[in-house]
Symmetry: C2
Subunit: 912 residues, 2 copies
């Protein structure tokens, strides 16, 4: 969201500047045209992205084919004048054309040695739907002969000519492309040519004639044989395409201002297919897979750019050019170094060699793998190309996440059955199982399984723990399956809608393949792929460079990074990953384990306080042991333990299953005692069932109605702390009360907790200075933060629930049903469960931060929602001045980096 908003603001600024300039339309002395070497990156609004880029390369002294750019202002003036070039523009174009001819040593329309040019549109933002590229402009029946003569290759010249006519007809004149394609196909059939390149000269001559006729027939006018008229028409068409339907729709959709206009670039054509001293290629200044520092790429001799892509011939590695054309190679190497130094980043370059002469066509910052990004950043820091802060900004936090997971071997051939959401990274292979109990049983027997469900709920957690990975057909990146799996660091593909899960028959069908229970398949949670069979995987390589990068991040960042961990294993893992505490230790998963659930259920179904307390007394030792484990794993670091949060019916059997069972047993009249038991349980579940459990009896509300539950949990925490004290382990628990909306809820919860802590302290003869704080996850809590801060030692923003209530959107319901469509259709710029919503949720957090801190200056502030591991959200947390972010263990390293980046961006970053 931040990016788009910033971009759109830039667009508006640029737009209004351009609009002002548009008023200059009538002034002939205004400068409408720039030579490439007159521009640069900073003139993007005026010259468009392409024009600015090519100007920058020219200015860097690179061998770029010469040319010039007609400004966006000219476009605006043209459109305002209803299709008339602004006064003075054409004169300037003519003058620049003359300069270009001088630089090229050829003239446009010269029958002996014609200059050919390309004409390209280029707005400030890359924009589909606008006129793209016309190549070979300047060809006419006369200049064709000159080109043929000069190149000594009539076939080449004819092919260039027919391509030009075709493109000009389709793009400039807006003709239906189909007759051209049909004519080409027919010609190939007649000539028995496999590819376009196999067409012989006579066939091409016929095709040129046919294309000229098609243009005449389609446009009502003969094909223009005056190169200047070609150029004038093409420029007008580029300008006009700014107001084309698709371009307008695209701008509407992306909220780009309509008054920006597009520039037009006119550039000399160069040809890589003029024999064995010509060629074309692409190369990177460093290896984009590994980050290693050497030229990496490939080229083809006697070929055009599209031939490399088409894959008809196998290109040579760039190193072969060293032998083939040593001087060209040396020059290219020098240019590559200069480009990298100029842009201070790895470049992805396109080049053409025309008869031994090297031309640079394009350079851009290279995309790279996560591993390469880390290595490149660290190498460039060592090379003193980048400062520490710059190096830190060269790696995306998500790339760090990716590095910490097992991946599908990139060289393996795979059969993709379906693609869902990349919900939790990493690859997993195992037998398909369709319910959690079976997953647990098989895993206990040592079988690797993948749990397949339509969607998961808390009843499935034990199965998720047992499984290697999770596949769901429904739900988004923040569905239960995704959130829990990410928390466990377990691969998950969620919302794979093409996967038809048939729970009754215990199988799924996807991509025409049926996978039955027990059959092995693979998921790739990093890409969302569901893959047939077993696939080779590669171990994550946490290289020394990553460690160095994160060490630098730690030096820079202000935000501490905590983890969300419910088990000692999670806590230990997170600690290895650099977690500085546990920001959220949920206690309800502990209740779900098989040896406790019966007591939990009996406690819930208890009719009297005494019976409830009896069951809680049985749970106490379990909870104490849980807390001893996690507090020991985090010895010396704070562990924020959240008291029980979910509605109680989550611990009871599924309602619909019970209803079906009761109905069946009633129909069968066979098992009166079983029926009675089932009916009793059904009645209990129906009593506890809620229409909107998310807004129901849960969180601190539970504890206020059943104080004995809170008391048991507080006692377990206190006793665990006392036990560890005796072992000289520095346990630092803090107690967090969930779902507080009114200060009185926290005050009473706090009294209850403190009284239990005092009891234990007295019993054990120790001091137990345990902080007590609250989640801020209910809007009312944020709105009344000043009051709440008076009884809270800390606030922890539960931004999952806060987002749900601020938007009035239930995450689980919404993602599949409308949230994804909202994002796809641009109603929302991003899924607010992935990236914190600055305007709504962020604003509310800001109120709570300001008023909470004012009421209590030492109030500790953190975030423990899923957003705590998300880069853009961490940037908002930095701006809000929180003390820490907390996220799942595997996201801790990425969060460390993101926190450093947020710090570098400063308090008034891009999202402000």
């Amino acid at each position: 969201m931040a990016v788009k908003t910033a971009a759109s603001q830039r667009a508006r600024r640029a737009g209004s500047a351009a609009a002002e300039a548009g008023a200059l339309g009538g002034r002939a002395d205004h400068k409408w045209v720039y030579r490439f070497d007159e521009g640069g990156q900073e003139m993007r609004a005026l010259l468009g992205g392409k024009g600015a880029g090519v100007a920058e390369m020219t200015r860097a002294g690179l061998p770029v084919p010469p040319g010039f750019t007609i400004t966006t202002e000219a476009c605006i003036a043209y459109l305002a004048n209803r299709g008339t070039f602004p006064a003075g523009m054409w004169v300037q174009v003519e003058a620049h054309l003359a300069g270009l001819e001088a630089a090229a040593g050829r003239r446009l329309g010269d029958p002996a040695d014609p200059l050919l040019v390309s004409v390209r549109s280029g707005a400030a933002f890359s924009m589909p739907g606008m006129m793209d590229t016309v190549l070979n402009l300047g060809l006419t029946p006369e200049t064709l002969e000159g080109l043929a003569a000069r190149t000594g290759d009539r076939r080449f010249a004819l092919d260039a000519y027919r391509r030009f006519i075709q493109l000009f007809g389709k793009i400039v004149l807006g003709l239906d492309p189909e007759p051209f394609d049909l004519a080409l196909e027919a010609a190939k059939r007649r000539a028995r040519a496999k590819t376009d390149a196999d067409l012989p000269v006579p066939a091409l001559e016929g095709l040129v004639a046919e294309f000229r006729t098609l243009v005449h027939r389609g446009s009502g006018r003969p094909f223009p044989d005056d190169p200047r008229e070609q150029l004038r028409t093409a420029i007008g068409a580029v300008f006009g395409s700014w107001n084309g339907r698709r371009a307008i729709a695209y701008r509407e959709y992306n909220r780009i201002a309509h008054d920006l206009g597009t520039a037009v670039n006119v550039q000399m054509m160069v040809f890589g297919n003029m024999g064995q001293t010509s060629g074309t290629g692409v190369a990177f200044t460093r290896d984009p897979s590994t980050g290693q520092r050497h030229l990496y790429g490939e080229y083809l001799l006697n070929a055009q750019g599209e031939d490399v892509v088409a894959g008809i011939r196998t290109p040579q590695p760039i190193s072969a050019l060293k032998r083939a054309m040593p001087e060209v190679y040396r020059e290219f190497e020098r240019i590559a170094q200069r480009l990298e130094a100029h842009y201070r980043d790895v470049q992805d370059m396109e080049f053409t060699i025309e008869r031994g002469r090297l031309f640079m066509l394009q350079t851009r910052t290279a995309k790279r793998t996560a591993a390469a990004a880390v290595r490149i950043a660290m190498d460039m820091l060592s090379e003193q190309t980048l400062s520490r802060e710059e190096a830190l900004q060269r790696v995306e936090p998500e790339q760090v996440d990716q590095l910490l997971h097992r991946a599908i071997d990139p060289s393996a051939r795979v059969q993709v059955l379906a693609t869902g959401l990349a919900a939790s990274p990493g690859a997993a292979t195992g037998q398909a199982v369709f319910d959690a109990d079976r997953a647990q049983a098989l895993a206990a027997a040592g079988t690797a399984v993948i749990l397949v469900r339509v969607e998961t709920n808390p009843d499935d957690v034990h199965g998720m723990i047992a499984a290697e990975g999770v596949l769901t057909a429904r739900g988004g990146r923040t569905s239960h399956a995704a959130v829990v799996a990410r928390g466990m660091g377990k691969p998950c593909v969620a919302g794979a809608e093409e996967v038809a899960v048939d729970l009754r028959r215990r199988r799924f069908v996807a991509g025409g393949v049926t996978v039955r229970e027990g059959e092995v398949f693979t998921i790739d949670g990093s890409t969302g792929r569901v893959i047939a069979g077993r696939v080779a995987t590669v171990e994550p390589s946490v290289s020394g460079d990553l460690r160095r990068l994160l060490g630098l991040a730690d030096q820079v960042r202000r935000l501490r990074v905590f983890t969300n961990a419910d088990t000692p294993e999670d806590a230990r893992r997170a600690r290895q990953f650099g977690a500085q505490g546990v920001g959220l230790c949920r206690t309800e998963h502990m209740f779900m384990e098989a040896d406790r659930l019966p007591h939990v259920q009996a406690m819930i179904l208890a009719d009297t306080v005494e019976e409830r307390q009896r069951q809680l007394a049985k749970l106490l030792p379990f909870q104490r042991q849980d807390f001893i484990g996690i507090l020991e794993a985090m010895a010396g670091l704070p562990v924020i333990i959240r008291l029980i949060d979910p509605p109680l019916h989550e611990f009871l059997p599924n309602h619909d299953d019970l209803l079906v069972e009761v109905t069946r047993l009633r129909e069968r009249h066979g098992a009166p005692r079983r029926l009675e038991r089932a009916e009793r349980m059904l009645a209990a579940v129906e009593r506890l069932r809620e229409q909107n459990p998310m807004l129901g009896l849960r969180g601190c509300r539970l504890g206020l109605l059943f104080p004995e539950i809170i008391a048991m949990q507080a006692r377990a925490i206190a006793e665990a702390t006392a036990t560890l004290r005796q072992r000289r382990v520095r346990a630092m628990p803090e107690i967090m009360v969930p779902l507080v909306g009114h200060v009185e809820e926290l005050r009473r919860s706090r009294q209850l907790i403190e009284s239990t802590l005092h009891d234990v302290a007295r019993e054990q003869g120790v001091r137990l200075p345990i902080k007590i704080g609250t989640m801020i996850e209910v809007p009312r809590a944020a709105l009344t933060a000043a009051a709440i801060a008076q009884v809270a030692d800390f606030f922890s923003f539960g931004t999952n629930d806060l987002t749900q209530t601020v938007f009035a959107v239930s995450r689980d319901d919404a993602e599949g049903k409308f949230l994804n469509r909202y994002v796809a259709e641009g109603i929302l710029a991003a899924n607010p469960f992935e990236h914190l919503d600055a305007d709504g949720v962020g604003r509310l957090m800001g109120i709570a931060v300001a008023e909470g801190r004012q009421a209590r200056p030492d109030l500790e502030l953190g975030i423990c929602g899923e957003h705590g591991g998300d880069g853009p959200s961490i940037a908002i947390c930095e701006q809000l001045g929180l003390d820490y972010v907390s996220c799942s263990p595997f996201r801790v390293p990425g969060a460390r980096l993101a926190a450093a980046q947020a710090r570098i961006a400063g308090p008034r970053g891009s999202t402000a």
Copy 2:
């Protein structure tokens, strides 16, 4: 909540003032004691409520038994000094006692003609748990004889003495009351006395001796026979009771500061039981039932206050006193007039006549019926006792509500089976029915029925429409049943938990009585009573006074009052009640009607847009007719129509019923086609079903996913308007988009609506300047109001949903499960669904109002939640500067009054 907050702030202010004064504890020259005629109402903090009240009466020149008040400051000093009276206090008490003796013409402890006094506590706030009253202080074995001699009634004197010992022992010395009660019972048994009054002199003498022994044994010291010691002990005990357990608990609970202290009142005893020239009584300055202007009350000769209450003898009407004691009556009449004039309100007075001398013991503002309140206010305005503004403030808006409903005849004897919540006022009698279909069928056949459900949901609405009233066993005052019934102006008792509803056997059991389907019973929605059989009712009397009152309210108020109405009948009724527009016309109830539901369901289940449009086309004429009806009923006034809001599955059959049906059919293997149909419907319902429908696919989200639904509704509205234009009816629809959270949702909805309106305008050749606005019911909408206001012509606060999301509380789930307990236990001061929460929801509304208006100064602002008919909530709306409130038709008159009161209270009213 506002009230409590304000009270508690006052308490704190008073408390800190008192605390400062407490520091004066050592200063003997400080004034610790006030004669009654030195004080007044404004000295409540210092003299306590009781002391200030009796001072006010004394100051008004009434014959109040003389006395003095020891200040709350003295109490604080006493407690700070660990139980020592502050220096100078006792000296001042002695001096005031001497003054009292002079005024009374008797001396404390005088064996011949003793002065007796009462000692009463009196804090600034009435507070249970504190020492209350000790009567007859000053009696000793010696003064007993004097009293007996003076009154000539030894029995009376002995009875007074034994009462004094009993009270002193129990209250001042804190002894167990049980032995005293047992001794009294035993004495009565022995003397064969039916009541205490029947005890003969010897028995009383024995009892006095026994009581003295009980005190000695219980306290370890003999009963004090020095009246000054009695007084000193009693004063200390009153002071000490401030820190009693129950008093502290009460203050904790009510958040009253602990440092306020209590005052002590010492007052001369007077006796109404000194023969036939003595008596006691209570009277009102006007009839509290009708408001008629004449003395109204009753008295008993030769009796004490408690005899009137005990009902042993039948009291005489106050008019009889005119004949019995004409001078006393005249004096009382004069006093009554003076009191009413002094307090400028009807007074409820207690008096005692001691041997022909009239004493006023207490006066307070009289409680009165709704009808009396209205009449008194209008009469006192006519009498020029009250200004228009004051008269308007003398009637509660709820009293106006009450006047508009049929009521149980107050003289009827009724058998109350259970008491639930008074959810929608009025009485109804009818046959019990247990499902909506049967209710509809019976009602269609002319039978009056009451719909009995555990709770209702939208499926029951047609049954509610058909029924005379609704009874539910679950749910609160703002449950579905309550809200819908109130909207319909239909009596409803909700959440009657003692009513055990057995839907299968079609009966309910309550109060030991079983009511089967078809049996007649009665509900009283004004009191919450469920009553056996048929009961006589009385018609509401909308008197001329009420009309006059509301007319005055209309002159004063700034807020307009709209109504929530879905049907022409509702709209017409509300218009008669003074509604100035429709603030919320829900369109979904229209979808629920029997002739439309099949099309609605087919529309929902449609697989293609075309099929959906086909079904919508069938619904269009229905909707158009609906809108013609309501727009015609409100001709000339605005009608804000909300587009479809509820989740679609609300229109489909109940999920659990379907699941049971499918399971049964599967077990029976008998009806494959029925099974298939049921399975298909079940699958559809499961697809649409949501975990938290309140936060799911509803409101504008529906319209953005299925634009054809919005288009149909907009077309229906536009065509209805055009049709009425042709009939020269001034239709003024406005279109409201529900559940907007992001400006983009509203922008796109608006585009869609506008384009439909344009289409219809073009087709029909009319102008359709229809305003388009939005509900503000999602926190994010309020937080981003500035952006949303740019595409909204109006905001309407949907405070039901806003309260749900701001609190993260689902109304339907919460009321029965924890919200009622929250209120009962004081965690929340009020149910936020009944009274708008100023701190959370109100604050958020304030943000939206300020930023919305700033962005768009002509933005129209209103509220359409249930709060729109609630007095305290209307006060908040006035402070927020809204333009109108909207409520159900029957609450419109009350809202008119509340709006006037809010205006009078001004922008900085009690809730600020």
